[in-house]
Symmetry: D2
Subunit: 304 residues, 4 copies
């Protein structure tokens, strides 16, 4: 007799492929002003944040996603002091950013205050108290509006927002027009890191479109990927900047920078992982050589 | 965009047929001394009690099951004063029993104290305060042991226990030996009501075996059934006694007894429902004419 | 190790309640001019016809549905000679109609010729050769158009069509205007039998609306129900006519008529089953007392 | 209205995590002497081979698995002429092996003749005619028995067998005793490639145990991984040999060898992919530093 409950969370990676997680319990179910929201406790992945029906972060493997999103950008920079985070409501991107001792100021703009509050309450292992760090400033605004009106410059900008879905809260933060605003807000030598959606055989349209769009705005653009099981396989990221070259950093140099700059052990990222992430499999590189549509305010690209 | 959560409870009616309920939240998940236990809140059936992975009662349709279990027995009796309930942890069988003004004493024996406590806390719409009724006595003992040692007699005995599954807590309460103990504890004119498992095309082996086993012990045995959607279709019950004939009661007489004896409106049961329940479809009657194994302590019958 | 395949057919009884059948294989998947269509072989219910994603007939329990649809109407008639069937593509309604020796002519109008052809090929246990019976005439037309232009009269008209869903092929055959056409085509003493959708707690809106709509057109209307496990519980039917009273037929008289008129044993229907079906549970009768919307061409009622 | 069928294949990656594929049809369901077997056609992954309920190969992404299994071994060898394949019933490993012009002889030993026959018939895009190549010899024997009795030597041995599950047909091909037999059959400079099971956070016990066990037998052992979506994430492989060093081959040298040795374009594997596969993420390397149990005939390790 199976003692585990037969309650399952179904995450449709696409209409023909679904991942199901056995659920131990539900901690929160509600509707914020911007999205539906749940916090569920799964047997295999621990607590999970679900927004608009899609799993956003699992306690078990979120370290892969958040370390992959933050550290390549910050390690590639000679000494990042100011960081801007768009989205990131769980506080885990913030956690990784603040792990860098060089960071003196982190501005996090997440439009959904209710969602952030629920995360603070139910996902403490994700934020690990980072919301209370004196170096951080948290604002509940439209990140695009904030950046377009701000005069600040940042050494790193980290886009940790939900995927671009029609009617969702995020698609205006994936367009060429938006990236031009971002480019203006990067300090000299500044780096942009963008979570870039799935890059599986099934579905890499958003990933390749983000790459092409960034190439319109930035001289150097580097796609990379990491396996996040709860996201259904390989997940895409992109670094963009001016004079940036993450591939020339040796694994040894990366490990040296980590040991001097970051105050704790990481679990996913180090010099060898860094190079693994930037060595994309051939089918992905082939797909990216085909010219893809540019994402603009007038012609967005949505995740199917 | 669908706002309802994609969390589902799966109830395997049998290994090849599963019913899934969308879940709004989980209220309790745990393991008592006797069984695993959950209280979940479903979108369609409200709060549901789940024991060892099987849905036992749903807020939405429990009234069908509990009215069908209790009232045919009590209405068939000229004026039931003392009632014994085996199992019935939700308190809803007790609720229906206590609705009869003639009942002066109801003894409920449910072995699982923790389960009863969780039901009292999380399923108030099921017990509706019946645990606080001065006429009831609640004991957490083995019902078989209690009855075999007791010298009391009851006008009605209601078996509201989980299905007989191998290794489960209930199968010893479905055997010929047990029913002989029950027969000894019935007062003259007393009636036994037994929840008797599924009686669908798929699976009517327990239902027909209970019927045959009761015929070994009681001169009058009447199988009947009601549709309980959350139980996967038609559900079986059996009345047994001495000098009992529920079919000769006219619908009008039943309605008259209800209006004088029961202090509130019922939703499922009345004279017409009564006769509908005892008119089983032909394939069930045919199946019951075939001689079935008798359930004994030595050769139990389990739900597959 | 489980040898059964882990392939499942999911039938959404409603958006919050799903039934899943383990699948041994698929025999046909396609799209006719009117609907998507599959024939699948399930472990528990045998071969099943699926139209637009909804299970229509299973080899295992179709006898319940088809006997319940046909025999109350034909047995209530003193000697039905001519019968009209709308829909019924599986040929199983035809099979039950032709079992009555008094029937000299059966006209079946099913708009979807491809669907009928697939059923003839893959579901032989349903039609059992009835398409080859010399008494039957098969037409692939719109049943409403056919009846409105025909001058024939029928002793029984059997509506065996898919549920009224928006955009589906059937909803125009559930309206008051349609039933007036039907009333014109019934011979004196003629009986109409209508499959009337689910009548579960979840969803009885179509059932009760059909009942109210028929009352606008026919002096006698009798709702009844049978448990069809593969349809998710209790399924509704309605008899309508002039001078009809199925409740006054005794079980003995029904059994006598069956033995003299029908050339083979039935599995579901007989005199006792007949009375069971017309004794609806109280909550259904209560729901039907509330006045429901009338279904008209201008204001149809759809299954949710 | 959704025209796609609601038929799903459920693959339990583990008891708490399930992947579901929408199914267009089933082509074969049966039981061979060794295992249950199905060929299903999925909407997203095309035709899939399922053995004992687990997806083994999908038409859509099998190229990743098979290129990852074969080419690192064969490219690391200066000029492989003779290759032994254990398992590989789909013929796709054979296809990749025979793509190397240097290969003069490929011996494939798969115990399950019926399974191979079904694959030849229903999965032509996997074998692509490789069973008809004059260089290959196909035997239906126990691979362990064959190798232990053979006096042949091979330049490469490729273990393409099902995961070690209790009671399954493969676990005796993962033990130290077996690898000693293999080591004896490798020609000087010969390379062993072993499919090594999942290497996800969830479940890397088999992967790490294979790695440790191989280290007991071979001086050089190199674990690597590739993302195979239909296998639920990252999948492990291991190279083993004497004097082997796949990491010192530059991407350019690999691409050069491919262009001169392999007669067609690959889709997954090239020099950059090679280096990506051998750069495992940190959490995997950390897990492998912990000493794991050695797999022996007496103390096997099974996939949970």
């Amino acid at each position: 007799m199976d003692d585990d409950p037969s309650v399952w969370f179904s995450d449709a990676i696409n209409p023909n492929f679904v991942q199901q997680y056995r659920v131990r319990g539900t901690l929160f179910t509600g509707q914020t002003r911007y999205q539906s929201m749940q916090v569920i406790d799964t047997c295999d992945f621990g607590r999970c944040l679900v927004l608009d029906g899609k799993l956003q972060s699992s306690q078990r493997d979120e370290f892969i996603y958040h370390e992959a999103l933050v550290h390549p950008a910050l390690i590639s920079h000679p000494g990042p002091s100011s960081v801007f985070i768009a989205g990131g409501g769980e506080g885990a991107t913030l956690r990784e950013v603040l792990a860098h001792r060089s960071v003196k100021k982190a501005v996090m703009v997440d439009i959904d205050e209710e969602a952030v509050d629920v995360c603070r309450r139910f996902l403490p292992s994700l934020h690990q108290g980072s919301f209370d760090d004196g170096r951080m400033e948290l604002l509940h605004l439209d990140a695009r509006k904030y950046l377009s009106e701000s005069r600040q410059e940042f050494d790193a900008i980290v886009m940790d927002i939900t995927d671009p879905v029609e009617g969702g809260p995020s698609w205006m933060l994936y367009t060429r027009e938006f990236y031009r605003i971002v480019a203006d807000r990067l300090a000299p030598g500044g780096v942009l890191a963008v979570q870039s959606g799935p890059c599986n055989l099934h579905d890499m349209a958003v990933f390749t479109a983000i790459n092409c769009t960034l190439r319109e705005v930035f001289p150097e653009v580097f796609p990379y990927a990491a396996v996040v099981p709860s996201f259904g396989g390989l997940w895409g990221f992109t670094l963009a900047g001016r004079g940036l070259d993450p591939l020339t950093l040796s694994a040894g140099e990366i490990n040296h920078r980590l040991s001097t700059r970051v105050g704790r052990e990481l679990r996913f990222y180090d010099g060898m992982t860094h190079h693994g992430m930037f060595h994309l499999p051939r089918y992905l590189r082939d797909a990216m050589r085909v010219r893809k549509p540019i994402i603009t305010d007038q012609s967005p690209v949505f995740l199917s």
